[in-house]
Symmetry: D2
Subunit: 388 residues, 4 copies
Amino acid sequence: MTQHALQAARRLAPRFAARAAEHDRDGSFPVEDFRDLREAGLFGLMVPTALGGAGATFAEYAAVATELARGNGATALVFNMHASVTGALGAVTEDLAEALGVPDEALAARDRLLTAAAQGAWYAVAMSERGAGARLSQLSTSYEPVDGGWHLKGSKTFCSGAGHADGYLVAARSAADQSVVSQFLVPAGEGLTVEPTWDSLGMRATSSHDLHLDVTVPADRLLGGVEGLALVIAQLMPHWLVASYAAVYVGVARAAVDAAAEHLNARNLAHLPAVRSRLGRADAAVAAAQLVVAEAARRVDEAPGDAETNRWVWRAKLLAGTTAADVAASVLEAAGTSATRRGHPLERLYRDARCGSLHPATSDVCADWLGVAALGGDPDRDATVPRW
Amino acid sequence: MTQHALQAARRLAPRFAARAAEHDRDGSFPVEDFRDLREAGLFGLMVPTALGGAGATFAEYAAVATELARGNGATALVFNMHASVTGALGAVTEDLAEALGVPDEALAARDRLLTAAAQGAWYAVAMSERGAGARLSQLSTSYEPVDGGWHLKGSKTFCSGAGHADGYLVAARSAADQSVVSQFLVPAGEGLTVEPTWDSLGMRATSSHDLHLDVTVPADRLLGGVEGLALVIAQLMPHWLVASYAAVYVGVARAAVDAAAEHLNARNLAHLPAVRSRLGRADAAVAAAQLVVAEAARRVDEAPGDAETNRWVWRAKLLAGTTAADVAASVLEAAGTSATRRGHPLERLYRDARCGSLHPATSDVCADWLGVAALGGDPDRDATVPRW
Amino acid sequence: MTQHALQAARRLAPRFAARAAEHDRDGSFPVEDFRDLREAGLFGLMVPTALGGAGATFAEYAAVATELARGNGATALVFNMHASVTGALGAVTEDLAEALGVPDEALAARDRLLTAAAQGAWYAVAMSERGAGARLSQLSTSYEPVDGGWHLKGSKTFCSGAGHADGYLVAARSAADQSVVSQFLVPAGEGLTVEPTWDSLGMRATSSHDLHLDVTVPADRLLGGVEGLALVIAQLMPHWLVASYAAVYVGVARAAVDAAAEHLNARNLAHLPAVRSRLGRADAAVAAAQLVVAEAARRVDEAPGDAETNRWVWRAKLLAGTTAADVAASVLEAAGTSATRRGHPLERLYRDARCGSLHPATSDVCADWLGVAALGGDPDRDATVPRW
Amino acid sequence: MTQHALQAARRLAPRFAARAAEHDRDGSFPVEDFRDLREAGLFGLMVPTALGGAGATFAEYAAVATELARGNGATALVFNMHASVTGALGAVTEDLAEALGVPDEALAARDRLLTAAAQGAWYAVAMSERGAGARLSQLSTSYEPVDGGWHLKGSKTFCSGAGHADGYLVAARSAADQSVVSQFLVPAGEGLTVEPTWDSLGMRATSSHDLHLDVTVPADRLLGGVEGLALVIAQLMPHWLVASYAAVYVGVARAAVDAAAEHLNARNLAHLPAVRSRLGRADAAVAAAQLVVAEAARRVDEAPGDAETNRWVWRAKLLAGTTAADVAASVLEAAGTSATRRGHPLERLYRDARCGSLHPATSDVCADWLGVAALGGDPDRDATVPRW
């Protein structure tokens, strides 16, 4: 079934690529890409098979993400948020649920969300806030119990897919007790307002706008069914974000090599030694980064959270980010001025590729953590000033 | 007087910088920057003092170009074309004119053009054509003698400042004899049509659009007064283009370091070791590139066209281009995601900086020529396939 | 059984490391390392199980080579030659033998050589000649039939392990017909003279001296039993050389990271941010190179000689060579002056690591071939001037 | 006169180069190089003309050092120590001497030392100690007044030229008051013992051995004539060490480019595109580093100790060190395996070149300081953990 997903991703990528220039230019959301993803059943990729999904492993997901990103990195980044939500929800086993005191009806609610995803719904993440970043302890969005559910009020930033998702994973603090942070799956609709703030160097089509919430949700939209579980779910997600960013940027880097090759062949420049040297070194670097991402993903499946797994996740993030930026810059130089015209794939990929190292954990942070680990230290304890 | 020019450039740069985001966004020409340049008398920078100009050396020009580029690289690039035209015209000595058979009235016409520049006129260059690039031997724009002057017909591309200059240096071939290539200084006005084709990754404000010509010019607008001198004038210009591109990109690179420092201080991130390391290495690289450009320019003044001068010109072009791109990429990474928002100086500088290596002679071509010279060969004879 | 080999390699590596400084200093052959290899049964690693060997795949071999190289890269390089000989001999299937017209007694002779290896013999390669390099078509060593066998006469260079091996794979041309090139497995003993010419920057303990031959060997020492098969066997070996060089240099690179970590911890310098950054980036680069080597080796097993397999082999060679040199240079800088003292592991590793890119195919050649392939061309047909 | 010195350096360099391989191999001191330096009058380079010297500026010295290093970097490094001593002694003006309370007889003694240098004496520096490094506050070498002078006792390390100099600049602490650190110019002879500890990756011919002192010196060998002036003199020297190291490594880098060009031409490999690209980029990098060193030196003459001067000194150190290592590694790769044979200039230069970044202030430290300065901070106050 997941082989099917990979084939679907490969089939869709050229369609995404054909639309990418327009969405990059306008900063518009790739609505048709998401329709394609829905029709291909990819929203159920991380949903357990028992609930109608494909039950993909993280490694399978990473491979799919890379293929999608070869079409449009921005589409793959937004899809990544959905995969993170469904993947983290699906990762809550019955044992874990019992240990956390999750009531049965909460598991049932969780299953309804996953089933909906398998049937075509997709979810975005509304976690970050201005000033707080993604640190749960500093959120200002709050919630309180009301008749028939919960009322949430606050503002989120960097919400990829804002205004287009069927639901939003929202973290908020209890108005009654500031130390309690909970997560809700807020359905799209009234009470949510998108403020179009996203206007970025690259990955422009993610529509990572601000999202203002003043909304009441049914009781069963509190994830886990009991308040205060946000940190637990958050801890299930980090490898998702870090390692899956990496998968996306490998796709972007490979797309850059392919676009450069096409451009150079069309202009009969493939015989130039400097061109060959640039493409050859770029090809090797991308191939290496792809293997590292695959290895990290494999280990996430086998031993999530292990110290050695984390090292591979950081290696993947570091290498994917730096490789994408370096490769795109080099092959653009090989391709020449004619490839810098807006609308040319390399022009967009050069901008998209620069963003990978900047997602948390940044390349410099990953290098620091890896250095601590290589020196036998514990990155959790010994890291230099972290950036996130 | 040229010290005055340098001070003027430093005074204007912040004003250019304040307008740069808008022109970058819209791809609009920095009209007010050029008004400022006119009012500061900088259009006369390369005009001999006897004709009312500042009589600057090439080294002095390079220093001015770098300062202007710290404000807006695109403005500096367009100014560079004007400086190239006036510099090359001014470089035709009486001895050279006599050797070429330039009649006295042509020298008088040349002096009028330079005097006009000293009084506030500026000239653009309309040399390249689709397909032909800048190779004079393959131009399709043609001219023929008509009553009262010359008629020119054809289309040019990459004409920086198209639609805004007071005159255009145009190369064309004689309709009567295809082997004769001449240059004209075509005044702005009827007969020139700008087709807005320029929409680039970086240096967006240069308005390097297509220019269509179907125009009659007075007899004295044939440069040199006799047909067929285009190659001679062209040979006076190359160091202009190559070395002065380099001066511009040093300014862009320095602007990136400065913008990153400002951004990082504003966000209290100056204490991060990785940030310091990136800025320190960037600072050193830019300082080195600036010295190389100054040395190349100094040698262009002392011994233009000498083999050793040419090596310095290529070194300057190579290092300025690669340094600008590398430095902008690194300091943007130091600055983080918040600096990738459109309108942020670093977002623009990252794109502008990538263009330097791509101007002819590209970095790869310069490296090849320098390698041939380091190996004791003659780049004119032994170079690998050239890109231009 | 091959898991046993990997464990043996890991057990031996520290013993090799303890002896490495002495052999590096003197350029002496690591005789005790080879005794250890014999005792661990590793000379039979590539010998089919039916003949008493471990029947390792190429992927298994590559893993072993990397582990050995973590102890001493030079030892691993010499072992690599033996593995190449036994691996290529073992790869001649009965079908291939039949197609080539290999008589049964030649297969029996081959089996004796492999059985001897499984029992503790090891073989070196004497292929290159001054002037000819490794090009079979330009060899000057010749052979002719004599009573009871063949007489060989000539001089070989770069013969790793010269004077220590139990046999030498020697290529020679027929005195009767210069176009016929055959290979012999010449036993150690009279008729072979070692001229100690090897005195190199790095990998000093390989004893890759000159070997002079004036020797008669029994008839069954002609490999394949018929003359003229040298090219066929040679074609079975290239991935051996290229890909297994790569495995060795990954081990060298990892050893450098480990030695730097030990040195820095001993000097309490692990807290320095620049040190961490260098080790972190080095760690990631080595991990990536190791995965690429493993992937290349896996594909060599699955589809030897395929175009895609070859690309992976070149990627492995390119990345292992450049990574080893870059990593060793960077971590030596992290470790500081105290690590540049002769006898310090990093001092040796810095020199050893530089050699990887220089083995054929060099990094620049691999980059060219990879570039041709990325551009859709055929490296066999379209490559720029090759270096070998 | 100093132009004469530069010419002498250029004349001597090939002679040094011809002897370099032998001294590198044996770690022997280049006695004949120093005889050449004496005969050329170069020991008086930094001695004021009034005392018979050449009265060179620091910029002139830097140019000489680079030329000497093109012959043998190790010779240039040892010469650098002598130039530092004579340069610092010569830099003590009468005003400064008066402000420090230096008695007239001490100035007379100083003049005698400088006059001796002009006549052919040369001085080494014995400052560092195991454990203390070059930190004056942690020295364990002590002195006490005795009949007819001072008695010094202790051990020094990294004393370049140990056993060959005519005198040694020695820092020691007063036995009576540990807080008082003084400097002495100890004449060669009895009481000094050289322990041959120097056996390094590169710069092997500096003979930077340990020096044990148990010696009595005349009263006038206390520099400055009053105790406790060591820190003052030390503060006059840092730019000497940092900036003049840089000058040496530029020479080493240029020598590497030249040696590679000679090697490649001899082997008819100059036509290979990858070779040209490597040499071209190397040539540009070395040219840039040389200009930065010259600029730093010029500013040291004009405004020693200024914040902006210091930035140039750090830029020079950073770029010379990194450029030498990078360039030597790249051109060795261009030259190929045949250049890795011991005795080949590139083999030695590759090792010598790696040492530049490791001399204090290391490249990483310079980058940190430059980053602090670029961010508007004060490196003296804000630097991250320093390495020295």
